[in-house]
């Protein structure tokens, strides 16, 4: 075992990344050395409370708890972790921001810090330190992390939502490879429905799955909610084309999708009711535990590429932010940096089994991406994703548009026939104009 000295620690970076797992006493020793040398020394008597999203993969949470333990033992800062369903993190954080009390740290969805940027602690120093040490941040992470010129959060990881599909059924429908173009994908859904193995995308207020596919559908047809100057441009022929395409897809889905939340497609896929959907890797992980024949028969694929020839996907990012009302800002920064250090981040990503993707380039080499080929597509989601708001600013307005389900409702209105194309677009346009005024 290499002895842990300041020299080996400073030689970190890409070398240590590939080395991977430190556990148990080794982790603790390393953590103690890290704590001594970290640029942020926790305040005396510091105590932290963090609210994070409830795990989707149990092993990820276990590894996280170990990580926090090591931090606490090394720095003497107890950290209390509470977990909420990830769509409930935002309301709780909003209330805490409004009232000025609550957990010191929040780990939630991408848009969270941008809902109250003035209440988020400046984390530019932490972000710069990590970016320099680990090969730089991916573009979308920089966009998400900054508000103006300062970083208001630290992007920790992305959760990719890609196509999940059943291999045998797809082969029988005539597709040995998952379609990678829009027309081919529509044919695929038609064929799958014809042979009695349909799929489905969520059209209800599913913050993750619904937003993920409707934005892909809108963007892949060239439609945009706003332009680079935040002017609302959703009323366009491209948007109309996207709506028509979605309606055609809807005709090939099973019933009930307008009532789906984020868990519904997981349940349906694992029950064998649907044969294609969009989701993170959680279906695959659950199948490996409880439905092994589905796990063996399923695979993942990128979303079909649209008119621009480039990927137009939207993947969830989970940043950690600290509130300005915290009594222990140095301790918060120390914890944020600790989470992303290689000796912590690598084993943690591995235990997430592909559910979480890194956004610092040095972590491309983590073995979790190659150990199981079905996991590999998730490695690049941080690089493939566009940011919330598309061309427009990543900020409060984009965050509100997403949490208001404006684009989701536009697609749902048209697909279910509640509105015609003009009506659906004008409802969305009106709501967007109010947000982006």
């Amino acid at each position: 075992m290499t002895s842990i000295t300041r020299r080996t620690l400073m030689q970190g970076g890409t070398a240590a990344v590939a080395a991977g797992a430190l556990t148990g006493p080794a982790l603790l020793d390393w953590a103690k050395v890290w704590a001594q040398n970290a640029p942020w020394k926790p305040e005396k008597g510091a105590k932290l409370a963090m609210l994070r999203w409830k795990y989707f993969v149990q092993s990820e949470d276990d590894a996280f708890v170990k990580l926090i333990d090591a931090f606490s033992k090394a720095t003497g800062v107890p950290v209390q972790i509470s977990r909420e369903s990830y769509e409930d993190v935002q309301p709780k954080a909003s209330v805490a921001a409004n009232t000025g009390t609550g957990p010191d740290l929040f780990w939630g969805l991408y848009s969270l810090p941008h809902l109250f940027p003035q209440k988020c602690m400046d984390t530019t120093d932490v972000a710069d330190y990590l970016g320099k040490k680990y090969g730089g941040w991916v573009d979308s992470a920089v966009k998400y992390g900054k508000s103006g010129n300062r970083w208001i959060c630290v992007p920790i990881c992305y959760s990719g939502a890609l196509m999940n599909y059943r291999i045998e059924a797809s082969k029988k429908a005539g597709f040995s490879k998952f379609p990678d173009k829009l027309d081919a994908f529509l044919e695929y859904t038609k064929a799958m429905k014809a042979q009695g193995t349909p799929g489905g995308f969520a059209l209800g207020h599913a913050s993750g799955d619904a937003n993920s596919w409707v934005h892909w559908c809108l963007w892949s047809h060239g439609g945009e909610t706003v332009d680079a100057k935040d002017k609302v441009i959703i009323n366009s022929p491209e948007t109309a084309k996207a709506l028509e395409y979605a309606k055609a897809l809807y005709g090939n889905m099973i019933q009930g999708t307008p009532a789906w939340n984020d868990a519904s497609n997981n349940k349906a896929f694992l029950a064998g009711d649907i044969y294609w959907t969009n989701n993170g890797i959680s279906i695959y992980v659950a199948a490996q535990n409880s439905a092994k024949q589905i796990a063996a028969d399923m695979d993942h694929a990128y979303f079909p590429v649209g008119v621009s020839g480039k990927p137009t996907e939207l993947h969830l990012m989970y940043p950690v932010l600290a509130m300005t009302y915290t009594k222990y800002p140095q301790a918060c920064k120390a914890l944020m940096a600790f989470m992303l250090e290689a000796d912590n981040f690598n084993p943690w990503i591995q235990s997430a089994k592909g559910y979480l993707t890194h956004c610092l380039n040095a972590y491309d080499n983590n073995p979790v991406w190659t150990a199981d080929p079905k996991t590999t597509p998730f490695r690049d989601v941080a690089k493939r994703t566009r940011t919330a708001g598309g061309l427009g600013s990543v900020g409060e307005k984009a965050a509100t548009a997403i949490s208001d389900f404006i684009v989701v409702d536009m697609f749902a209105n048209y697909c279910t026939g509640r509105e015609d194309v003009k009506g659906a677009i004008s409802v969305a346009e009106r709501a967007l104009k109010r947000i982006y005024r």
Partner: protein
Amino acid sequence: MADIALKSSVKAPARDITAWDRLKVDRNWLGLWFMLPAAAFLILFLAYPLGLGVWLSFTDARLGRGGEFVGFENYDFLSDDATFWLTVFNTLLYTTVASAIKFAVGLYLALLLNERLPFKAIIRAVVLIPFIVPTVLSAIAFWWLFDPQFSIISWSLVNLGLIDHYINFLGDAWNARWSVIFANIWRGVPFVAITLLAGLQTVSPSLYEAATIDGATNWQRFRYITYPLLTPIIAVVMTFSVLFTFTDFQLIWVMTRGGPVNATHLMATYSYQRAIMSGYLGEGSAIATAMIPFLLLAILVSWFGLQRRKWQQGESND
């Protein structure tokens, strides 16, 4: 001797009655102090939030920061908002249909329970269960019962051969509306039934006897004796029932979150979504404040419409 006796029989001079003395026994003064704890409670937890909510509806407050006074801007925006009017429609539909059916079923149940029955006490306790079970739990159960893919109702009907595909309960707009109305009725009937039952038991049997002697039929007894004497109770119970149904949040939020496509969004759930989830406190408060006229109307209808008999106001019978 006589001197001593005289001295001891002389009373002490009466002292003046001060204002404080008068105040100490003044009923209004004492009443005020006794009322103060309850008033403080009500003001702090009812009046203040209500006032704050109405004030917020005139500002552009966002969650996470305060706002400035903007006048009627929020209401202006809502008056053109298709989703808002949809929630008004949904709320009115939900309240009217659910309350009407709850009243009918509750009254019928009360009349039945008023008869001689074996195990009456147990039956009454069982009837009360849907109301006692925490709403969230029964809502989750209904959510599973009405799931488009996993409904036990659909499964049973398919296995009995009555239908050939699962019913799209919560994925279709109108089906979802009827599903949540059904869940609300299931939950609310016991409240109406038990309260009306209590009212029924105050009706003097001698009235029924007199009517029977005069040859009244069952329907006539109900129409001319039971119903008029019940109207004050009905006014109270239906006011509460309409108020609670109109402002229902838990059932909708757990079952459908307002979906599909906002078809089951009530004003309360829409207000929450706008205020807390999207952070538009001003607009959310405006939606919530918009409920007040409807609620006032319901109270006025029950107050003036159902309390018109003189004897209900405390005067003698007409």
